[in-house]
């Protein structure tokens, strides 16, 4: 076969990419779905205790964040994340992991500029752009309220 190195790389990359997606996407679906099922279980449990949906939903988030923090501390979340990909990133447990993991990792740089600053290395942008999007919506909603 007479193919150039560049062609070979492109072909190899294409195949590596596609065969990988057959595995990564179902894995993300499965693990992400399971985390949501744990959430559904917690949500039902809190509602069973007589807590309203919105509050029960907040307690569910807090519980999942706690579990994720614990697993991250034990070094287990990263192991699941190796298989889960976006399935462990997109749920709120992934957000918690993105806070806890650098908080622990950068402890060596001190509690102020290490743990304190680096815990927002990913959560920071999420908060900045999330709040900004909500802020823009707020302005539109407020003006619409004045006109209506």
């Amino acid at each position: 076969m007479d193919i150039s190195k560049k062609e070979y790389e492109q072909t190899a990359k294409k195949h590596a990419g596609s065969s990988k997606m057959y595995i990564t996407v179902p894995k993300a679906f499965l693990i992400g779905g399971l985390i949501c099922c744990i959430g559904e279980g917690l949500l039902n449990m809190y509602q069973y205790f007589g807590i309203e949906f919105d509050e029960a939903s907040a307690y569910t988030s807090i519980t999942l964040v706690f579990l994720s923090a614990l697993l991250t501390g034990l070094g287990l979340y990263e192991r699941i994340a190796k298989h889960g990909g976006a399935g462990t990133l997109v749920p709120i447990t992934g957000f918690a992991n993105a806070v806890v993991s650098p908080a622990l990792e950068f402890k060596t740089e001190g509690y102020v500029l290490g743990t304190g600053a680096k815990m927002f290395i990913i959560a920071g942008p999420v908060i900045v752009y999330g709040i900004t999007a909500a802020f823009i919506y707020g302005i539109i909603y407020y003006i619409y309220g004045l006109c209506a």
């Binding site: 997606m21 779905g33 923090a69 992934g94 806890v100 990913i122 942008p125 919506y137």
Partner: protein, 125 residues
């Protein structure tokens, strides 16, 4: 049977939202930080348009646990704050809505950093 379907849809919808994230990672090489930012902003927009609440009604935790749910919560909190406090709500709504999740992550993160040591088990194997 109803209970089974409830968990089934939480699994399917939650899994599907994560699968979308995985497709984006594989095809576009978006970094995890960009994925998280995109999902929260997308959730905020969907929440603002009122399109996310039906998904929550249908899939429960399948819709609230992914970060798009976090985004829709920002939009909802903003709406409620403006209804209650008017103009000031534009400045308080966002943080009020996300305060529980963010505070939990911060506090538990700090506690974990105090207690645990970086084990690096993954690298040893």
């Amino acid at each position: 049977m109803d209970v089974f379907m409830e968990y089934f849809w939480a699994f399917v919808i939650g899994g599907a939202i994560c699968a979308v994230g995985q497709v984006l990672i594989d095809l576009t090489k978006l970094t995890p930080a960009r994925i998280l930012v995109s999902f929260v902003v997308a959730g905020t927009i969907l929440g603002a348009l009122g399109w996310y609440q039906p998904i929550i009604d249908f899939a429960g935790a399948g819709a609230t646990v992914p970060l798009t749910g976090f985004g829709s919560l920002l939009a909802k909190g903003m709406r409620e704050a403006i209804d209650k406090d008017g103009l000031l709500g534009i400045f308080t709504g966002g943080f009020t809505a996300c305060s529980a999740g963010v505070t939990a992550a911060m506090i538990f993160g700090l506690i974990v950093a105090l207690i645990f040591k970086r084990t690096d088990r993954t690298r040893q194997e």
